[in-house]
Symmetry: C2
């Protein structure tokens, strides 16, 4: 393995909607650049926003670090600059894993339940990661038929997602924030282990202030509720304050 | 329990899209009348068709009888007339259970796979039985959150659906017909057992002639491929011929 101090950014591997992924001189390590861009509706709505990248980069680094302390392994290696990180390269399992504690978003749309209705147990849903197909909802049999994941991998993903949920709920609760739902991505390491990848930020979480019930996440952008970056910065500030205690 | 010969039709309990369900003088028994009506798109497309009711009534009676001989309990009690049956009253579990052997219908639409692509393992999908919501797709966690079924009931449904699939595939194969997919409904008896209910007919199955690859099911109506009832009668004739051997 290359010494971390000797890692150099190389080619753009993937230009995503929120991040750029670069190869490095170590084949097992990627260089992630968080962009000042936000999209919704699978990229159909796209806006540039100053300081969005560095805010998400910092929140993600912090949450991955907290989860690591709880024994949940992720791809996160270290922060390089306000907008750049080194991560372990994985083969992304093409399932977007959504964990829901309260009804919101597509759940409410599909089943016409009440917004923020509490679930007795967290609800996990998989969506097939495919921009062309618009990330369709699927079940375990579908995922198997499509070759997206094995039953064992889905069982591991569920276990890790539920464990992450427990800790994230607590972290946000201390910040006076309700963790309504969030989306995770998992990947396979060269050794075949399933680990947490991608990012953990208000782009992929639904967060609601416990007192005001206001959204503190990308719904601010999706629903045009006001300035988004100050809301993300508020989440980062509460996280940092919580960390100081 | 009332003697079957003394069962009398009473009030219309439920006017469905394909059948009318009547109460009888036995609280545990319903009187089903198969109507000469076919609908698609959740009732938005609706047509009257002579002899459709009796054809489906006969096919359904036959298939439930064959499944019973294989140990799969259903609500079917007996045929009363060409269009009428007695069935055991159950509390319908609001999950439409779809078993897929080959890709078709909404699976192909959602995941853009090839029509009639074979699955290594049968794929089971649940849809939430709700006309208002347009029968949305759901997974086990959703079904639990919505109170549609318990985990144990879903496990039993899967087991029964797979067993029914094995036998139905064989029955249709002998008739030179491919069982592409089909929809089942299950219900709870007063004793709390999960049994097969509703109907088993070309209204709820995708059937394809093994040689011509033509649809022998409701897709003829959905896609406007020609006269539907003669196709259903063809299925009934092949079933009866198979039974004679
Ligand atoms: N550790 C990793 N190794 C390889 N790919 C990753 C890793 N973490 C995230 N990715 C992938 O890189 C992309 C990140 O960029 P993003 O802008 O979020 O993309 P997208 O537009 O697909 O959401 C995603 O497709 C994600 O699946
Ligand atoms: N054994 C049974 N006991 C009670 N209800 C039943 C039984 N079998 C079927 N049903 C219900 O009766 C209705 C049958 O009529 P149908 O025309 O198929 O209705 P739908 O328009 O809801 O599909 C369905 O709603 C079905 O769930
Ligand atoms: Mg992304
Ligand atoms: Mg029906």
């Amino acid at each position: 393995m290359t010494e971390l101090t000797e890692i150099k950014k190389q080619d753009l591997l993937y230009q995503g909607k929120a991040k750029e992924m670069y190869t490095t001189n170590d084949p097992d390590i990627l260089w992630v650049h968080y962009m000042d861009q936000v999209t919704a509706l699978n990229g159909k709505k796209k806006v540039q926003m100053k300081d969005k990248g560095k805010t998400n980069c910092a929140i993600s680094a912090r949450l991955f670090t907290e989860l690591r302390e709880q024994g949940i392994v992720s791809h996160f290696i270290e922060q390089l600059s306000p907008t750049d990180q080194l991560v372990q390269k994985v083969q992304i399992i093409p399932l977007e894993t959504v964990v829901r504690n309260y009804a919101s978003g597509s759940f409410v749309k599909r089943y016409q339940t009440e917004y923020l209705q509490k679930f007795d147990q967290p609800v996990i849903e998989f969506f097939y990661k495919s921009d062309e197909l618009d990330d369709p909802f699927l079940n375990d049999d579908d995922a198997l038929a499509l070759g997206a994941a094995t039953r064992e991998q889905m069982a591991q993903i569920r276990q890790l997602a539920l464990k992450a949920n427990q800790h994230l709920r607590q972290i946000f609760a201390k910040m006076n924030v309700l963790l309504v739902d969030f989306k995770l991505e998992f990947g396979l390491t060269a050794a075949g282990d399933v680990i947490l990848a991608d990012e953990l930020s208000p782009d992929n979480c639904r967060l609601v202030d416990l007192d005001t019930k206001q959204s503190l996440d990308k719904d601010v952008f999706r629903k045009g509720l006001g300035e988004m970056v100050p809301v993300y910065e508020e989440i980062l500030q509460r996280l940092l304050k919580e960390g100081e205690r």
